[in-house]
Amino acid sequence: MFGKVHNIFVTIALLGLTTLLLTGCGDTPPEPRLETAKAKAEQCVEPTDVMRKDHMEFILHERDETMYEGIRSSKHSFKGCINCHIPAADAQGKPVNYLTADHDLNPEHFCATCHAYVGVKLNCFDCHSDNPEGAAPADSTHANVNGNGGVAHE
């Protein structure tokens, strides 16, 4: 008899939890900012659904081919992604960086839009340029921020 009462409580608790989880699903994923790339090309290097699911596979594949075999064709190149998807400068004429000066993900940056939403950290831009080649000159506030989260040097 005691067990039955216990079961009812468990069921109620589970129902409550499910309701909570479902309410969390109300948020729709952010729309990636495609206007910069759309201005340059009608279609990405692969169909949109393929790019959404497999873009990392393409970048990884190209990475090894370039690193070890010296193949520098541009189709699935990381540089190609950046050059097409990231605007040369924002409305203020400053470069659009992956991180803001406060080390938050910059929602203006194409990669950051989705990666902030899904909580998948990117470390591509620890080494790679997050700007198209020949973009606006470096933002001095950004260049002086160190990786440990604080402004260490002026």
Binding site: L60, Y68, E69, I71, C127, H142
Partner: protein, 245 residues
């Protein structure tokens, strides 16, 4: 995807190694020589080429400070604000040498010598240090863990570790905190048929070319006037050679 392509590369290499001895004998030497040369950007590198540099120290003003500056500009190193002098990047540096007996003095630029049997690649625990088929020694920063064994193994002190977070790197030369770096012989340039930045800035004092091609400018210059390796006693068969030292 990448794994299978690597395995394919190993298989190809193995098969070529087995077949290589036979073909080298049967194919006329002239035919092999004509294959050597610059490749198209989409083409795979091969061991038909061995890229090298011949540095004429006498013709480099200020011990090659000009080529050091050109390298800094090309790859964006040297502006590490939070690193001390021991930590700062030095892809190439000028070294002053004085022989005690004769008091003969000179300066020379020293960078990665792109050894055939590279000690850095030997000691690397992750395989990040490696030698490309065309002889260029590189760090795959994707798998470098920053342990710095390679820096200790290198007899030329050619490598450095990035000690601080970097921003606004060059698109063609990714570099970042916690990875080791050194001269790449400007692979991003030679892969598309251009000359390394230092060679362009040297006014002809540095010759870049294919050491495997006996008709190349560098091979002809080496044949005519010779070229020394630094620490030749180590038997590393370096890709970088010097004249005037």
């Amino acid at each position: 995807m990448s794994k299978s392509s690597n395995i394919d590369a190993y298989r190809r290499k193995f098969l070529l190694g087995v077949a290589g001895t036979a073909t080298a004998v049967t194919v006329a030497p002239g035919l092999l020589l004509r294959q050597a040369g610059a490749k198209a950007p989409s083409e795979e590198i091969s061991d038909k080429n061995r890229w090298g540099m011949l540095i004429d120290v006498d013709r480099l003003p200020n011990g090659g400070q000009g080529v050091v500056d050109a390298c800094k500009k090309e790859h964006g190193w040297g502006d590490e604000a939070h690193s001390n002098d021991q930590q700062k990047a030095h892809w190439v540096r000028t070294v002053h040498v004085k022989e005690k007996l004769t008091e003969h003095e000179f300066d020379l630029p020293v960078m990665c010598q792109h050894c055939e049997t590279a000690p850095c690649a030997d000691v690397c625990p992750t395989g990040a240090s490696f030698r490309r088929e065309d002889g260029v020694v590189l760090v795959d920063k994707h798998i470098c863990i920053g342990c710095r064994y390679c820096m200790m193994a290198c007899p030329y002190k050619a490598r450095s570790l990035v000690h601080e977070a970097l921003f606004d790197q060059k698109a063609h030369s990714p570099r970042g905190k916690g990875t080791v770096e050194s001269c790449t012989m400007c692979v991003h340039r030679i892969d598309v048929g251009r000359l390394p930045a230092c060679v362009e800035a040297s006014n002809g004092a540095i010759i870049f070319g294919d050491l495997n091609d006996k008709n190349s400018e560098i091979s002809q210059a080496l044949k005519a006037r010779g070229g020394k390796q630094i620490r030749a006693d180590l038997g590393l068969n370096t890709g970088v050679r010097y004249q005037g030292i």
